[in-house]
C-alpha cells in the first residue's frame, strides 16, 4: 500500500469512526423513557422530582444533543466510557473482562470452521456435479438454514442432558465449556464457507497454470494443495474479516444459550436492564474492533497477493 492510499484509507476510517460514535451515542436518544429515572430504578432507588432534576443538570442532560455528544466523545477519547448503572463499575473494565472469552470463542470457532469447510469445499470442487458434490451440497444447505440457536440447544440436549459428557453451564474458562459454543458457531459458518471454497477452487482449476502443471505431469494432489489451494485462499481472507464481525455479534445468541461469560451475554443483560453506558460501550467497542480487523485484512491482502504487491511497486 502506498503512502497516499494509506492516507486516504486512514481518512476514510476517521470519518467512519466519527459516524460510529455518533450513531452509538444516538442509540440512547431512541430510547423511550428518561435515562435518569432508569438509572435510579436499576439501582433500586426512587428519588424525588427535585433530585431527578439535579441529576439531569449534573449529567448534562439538559444541554443540546450535539453538546452532549461532544462531551461524551471527549470522555470516550480519554478512555472513559462512564459507569455502568447496573454493575456500578467502569464500563471499560467490565468490557475488558469479557473481551478475551469472546475473542477466544470467535477464534476457536473460526479454526473449527476452516477445518470443516476447506476439506468439504475441496472435495466438492474436485468431484464437481458428481454424487459426492450433491451429497455435500445438501449438507451445507442444512447448515445454512438451521437457526444457530436451535443447533446449540440440540447439541446441548444431546451432549449435556442425554449423554452428560459436557457441562450445561459454561461458566469456567476451560476447554470443555468452549467446545459446544464454538461448534455451534462454526456449524452455520462452515456451510457458508464450504460453498465459497468450492467456488474459489473451481475458479482456480479453470486457470491455465493448472493445465500447465498437469501437462508437465505434476501429481494431482500436488497441483491441488500447492498451486490451487493457496490461490483459492486469497478471496477467503476478506470474508474471514467480515465473519469476525458477524461472529462478535452473532455470538450473543450462542453465549446466552450456553451461559458463556462473554461480551455478547453481557450486552444482552445490559440491553435488558437499559444500562445505557454499557450498551454504548459495547456497540462502540465491537464496531471499532470490526473496523480495525477489516483494515488489517485489507492491508494484509495487499501484501499477501503478489499481483497487487507488484502492481503497487510498478505503479
Amino acid at each position: 500500500m502506498t503512502a497516499k492510499q494509506l492516507g486516504k484509507r486512514l481518512l476514510q476510517i476517521a470519518v467512519v469512526a466519527a459516524g460510529i460514535t455518533f450513531l452509538t451515542f444516538l442509540i440512547t436518544y431512541l430510547a423511550p423513557g428518561d435515562p435518569v429515572r432508569t438509572m435510579y430504578a436499576t439501582a433500586g432507588i426512587m428519588p424525588g422530582e427535585e433530585i431527578i432534576q439535579q441529576t439531569r443538570e449534573a449529567m448534562g442532560l439538559n444541554r443540546p444533543v450535539l453538546a452532549q455528544y461532544f462531551d461524551w466523545l471527549q470522555n470516550c477519547l480519554r478512555g472513559d466510557l462512564g459507569v455502568s448503572y447496573a454493575y456500578n463499575e467502569p464500563v471499560s473494565a467490565l468490557l475488558l473482562d469479557r473481551l478475551w472469552p469472546t475473542l477466544k470463542l470467535a477464534l476457536f470457532s473460526m479454526v473449527l470452521m476452516l477445518l470443516a469447510a476447506v476439506p468439504v469445499g475441496m472435495a466438492q470442487a474436485t468431484h464437481q456435479n458428481r454424487a459426492l458434490d450433491y451429497a455435500l451440497r445438501s449438507l451445507t444447505f442444512f447448515g445454512i438454514s438451521m437457526p444457530n440457536f436451535w443447533v446449540g440447544m440440540l447439541l446441548m440436549l444431546f451432549f449435556c442432558v442425554r449423554l452428560q459428557l459436557l457441562p450445561v453451564v459454561c461458566s469456567a474458562g476451560d476447554f470443555k465449556s468452549l467446545l459446544l459454543p464454538a461448534v455451534t458457531l462454526a456449524f452455520a459458518m462452515s456451510a457458508k464457507y464450504a460453498r465459497q471454497v468450492r467456488a474459489a477452487i473451481l475458479e482456480e482449476l479453470r486457470q491455465d497454470y493448472v493445465t500447465g502443471a498437469r501437462a508437465r505431469g505434476v501429481a494431482e494432489w500436488k497441483v491441488l494443495w500447492w498451486n490451487v489451494f493457496p490461490n483459492a485462499l486469497l478471496p477467503l481472507i476478506t470474508l474471514l474479516g467480515l465473519s469476525l464481525g458477524s461472529l462478535l455479534g452473532g455470538a450473543a445468541v450462542v453465549e446466552v444459550i450456553f451461559s458463556y461469560p462473554g461480551l455478547g451475554s453481557l450486552a444482552v443483560s445490559a440491553i435488558t436492564a437499559y444500562d445505557y453506558p454499557l450498551i454504548q460501550g459495547y456497540v462502540l467497542w465491537i464496531s471499532l474492533i470490526y473496523m480495525l480487523v477489516n483494515l488489517a485484512v485489507d492491508v494484509s491482502y495487499a501484501y499477501i497477493d503478489p499481483r497487487i504487491r507488484e502492481k503497487r511497486r510498478g505503479g
Binding site: L157, V253, Y282, V283
Partner: protein, 275 residues
C-alpha cells in the same frame, strides 16, 4: 408462457413455490389447521405434557398446545420477515436509484450513510436498537430493516449507473423525455428484477435474524406465539421438556429452508449463467 409448459420446464422452482405457498396458507388459515385450538389457551393442569394423542407436539409450562403455537407462530414469523424484505427492498431501491441517477451530493450522502451502516456488525446494532426501543415485533422489524437496506441500495445504485450509460437512455434524454419518465420507464423496470431475486433469497435469512432477536428477548413478547421466543422459553426446560424447543426450532428450520430453496431456484430460473 402457458402454465403447463412452464411447470414442466421449471419443476424445481414450481415445487418450492408450491411448498412456500402451502406454508403461507397454513399461516393464514391457522385456526383451521389447528382445529380451533387457541395458541394462548393456558390449561395449567395440562402443563409440560409430552407429545401424545391429545397434544401432538406436547404442551408448554402453561399447558398451551405447542402445535397450535407453532402454527400461529408462522403468522408472526412470515409477516415480520415479509415486512422486513419489503421495507429494505423498497427503501434500498429508492435510495440506490436516486443515488445512481442524480449523482452529486445526493449520491455522496446516501452512499456514505450506507458505508457507515456496513461498518457496524449488523446484528450488534440491531440488538441495541431493538432492545433500547423496547421489545416488540414492530421494533425488531425496524431494527433489522435499518441495518439491512444498504445491500439493496448499493446494488440498485450500480445497476442504475450501468443502465444510465446505455444508448436507449441517452436517446430518451436527447428526445426530451422528462427525468421522471426516464426513471419509471427505463431505469426502474431494469433494476427491479435483479433486486427482487435478491429479496426473495433474503427472506429466510431475515426470518432467522428476527427469530434471533426474539430469542434474546428483543422481539416478540409473551404470550405472542413466536418461534424464537418459544425456543427461549423451551431453553429453561431443556432437561424436563425438550419438545418445547424441538418443534418450534424444527418449524423455523423448515420454513427457512423452503424459502432459501425457493430463492435459489428463482435465481437459477432468471439467471442461468450463475449455476
Amino acid at each position: 408462457m402457458k402454465f403447463k409448459p412452464f411447470v414442466q420446464k421449471n419443476r424445481v422452482f414450481c415445487l418450492f413455490a408450491a411448498l412456500a405457498l402451502l406454508l403461507v396458507l397454513a399461516a393464514v388459515f391457522a385456526p383451521v389447521v389447528t382445529g380451533g385450538v387457541s395458541p394462548e389457551d393456558a390449561v395449567l393442569k395440562d402443563a409440560l405434557q409430552p407429545p401424545g394423542a391429545g397434544h401432538i407436539f406436547g404442551t408448554d409450562k402453561l399447558g398451551r398446545d405447542i402445535f397450535a403455537r407453532v402454527i400461529y407462530g408462522a403468522r408472526t414469523s412470515l409477516a415480520a420477515a415479509f415486512s422486513v424484505v419489503l421495507i429494505i427492498f423498497a427503501l434500498g431501491t429508492a435510495l440506490g436509484v436516486a443515488a445512481g441517477s442524480f449523482g452529486g451530493w445526493a449520491d455522496a450522502v446516501i452512499m456514505r450513510i450506507a458505508d457507515l451502516m456496513v461498518s457496524f456488525p449488523g446484528m450488534v446494532f440491531a440488538m441495541a436498537v431493538a432492545g433500547v426501543m423496547g421489545a416488540s415485533v414492530r421494533n425488531a422489524v425496524i431494527a433489522v430493516s435499518l441495518v439491512s437496506w444498504t445491500k439493496y441500495a448499493r446494488l440498485a445504485r450500480s445497476l442504475t449507473l450501468k443502465i444510465r450509460s446505455l444508448d436507449y437512455v441517452s436517446a430518451a434524454v436527447v428526445t426530451g423525455s422528462k427525468t421522471s419518465c426516464i426513471l419509471t420507464r427505463y431505469i426502474l423496470p431494469n433494476v427491479i428484477p435483479t433486486l427482487a431475486v435478491t429479496a426473495a433469497a433474503d427472506i429466510g435469512g431475515m426470518m432467522l435474524e428476527l427469530a434471533g432477536l426474539s430469542f434474546l428477548g428483543f422481539g416478540a413478547k409473551a404470550p405472542t406465539p413466536e418461534w424464537g421466543l418459544m425456543l427461549n422459553e423451551g431453553r429453561q426446560f431443556i432437561q424436563s421438556a425438550p419438545w418445547m424447543m424441538i418443534y418450534p426450532g424444527a418449524a423455523l428450520f423448515v420454513v427457512v429452508a423452503v424459502f432459501n430453496l425457493l430463492g435459489d431456484a428463482l435465481r437459477d430460473l432468471l439467471d442461468p449463467r450463475d449455476v
